[in-house]
């Protein structure tokens, strides 16, 4: 069964500082990996995704993530955080076609990001 772990429930950074949010996954094959962001009272917005190819993927709002198969990780990074980045961030893994998890996203528990001025 696929699973996702986000070890950090809450992270606080200062505006302008760099950011790394951790994500580890468990999946039997090459996974589809995603990072979503949820602002208070809002639905989820896709930041970036990895399906195959280059293991460093660029997303919206200046975010990037690196897929490391050997570590089963897909960490999200941003070189300089803005106050508007304060939100909850979710890592997710998607099931492949033909499997019982097809069409299903399995989410981590989320990491709440607080940004201090």
């Amino acid at each position: 069964a696929q699973s996702v772990t986000q070890p950090d429930i809450h992270i606080t950074v200062s505006e302008g500082a760099s950011l790394e949010l951790r994500c580890n996954y468990s999946y039997g094959a090459t996974p589809y990996l995603f990072w979503y962001v949820q602002s208070p009272g809002q639905g989820l917005q896709l930041l970036l995704k990895y399906f195959s190819g280059d293991t460093l993927v660029q997303g919206i709002k200046g975010f990037e993530a690196e897929f490391k198969r050997s570590q089963s990780s897909f960490n999200l990074r941003k070189p300089s955080v803005h106050w508007s980045d304060a939100a909850e961030y979710f890592c997710a893994v998607g099931g492949l076609a033909g499997g019982t998890s097809y069409g299903k996203l399995t989410f981590g528990q989320g990491t709440i990001l607080t940004v201090h001025p």
Binding site: G43, L44, L46, F51, G103, K104, L105, F107, G110
Partner: protein, 115 residues
């Protein structure tokens, strides 16, 4: 272009009642997904509909059911409500022909409170 719309925004029911939640996907999207976001449990996959058919289902009891209409809108029905059904229910949609889940668009959700 309108995004994914969900109604109602808030719904208050008592234990044992039935709840109906509605979702309108983005125009042109044929797949609709339902997720439950409950405190302490995170986001849990409920159902996936495509072209009017249920394609996959999460680990939820049968009292969680739904359907997709010819115009691709969808309903989620929860029968015999229990207190632990209180949660934010999110609907998402995606385009036909895209790699599945390549890009899901989420609505803002229906907050269901069971008293």
């Amino acid at each position: 272009e309108a995004g994914v719309t969900q109604s109602p925004t808030h719904l208050i029911k008592t234990r044992g009642q039935q709840a109906t939640l509605r979702c309108s996907p983005i125009s042109g999207h044929t797949s609709v997904y339902w997720y439950q976001q409950a405190l302490g449990l995170g986001l849990q996959f409920l159902l996936w509909y495509d072209e009017g058919e249920e394609r996959n289902r999460g680990n939820f009891p049968p009292r969680f059911s739904g359907r997709q209409f010819p115009n691709y809108s969808s309903e989620l029905n929860v029968n015999a409500l229990e207190l632990e059904d209180s949660a934010l229910y999110l609907c998402a949609s995606s385009l036909r022909g895209q790699t599945l889940m390549e890009k899901l668009f989420f609505g803002s959700g229906t907050q269901l409170s069971v008293l």
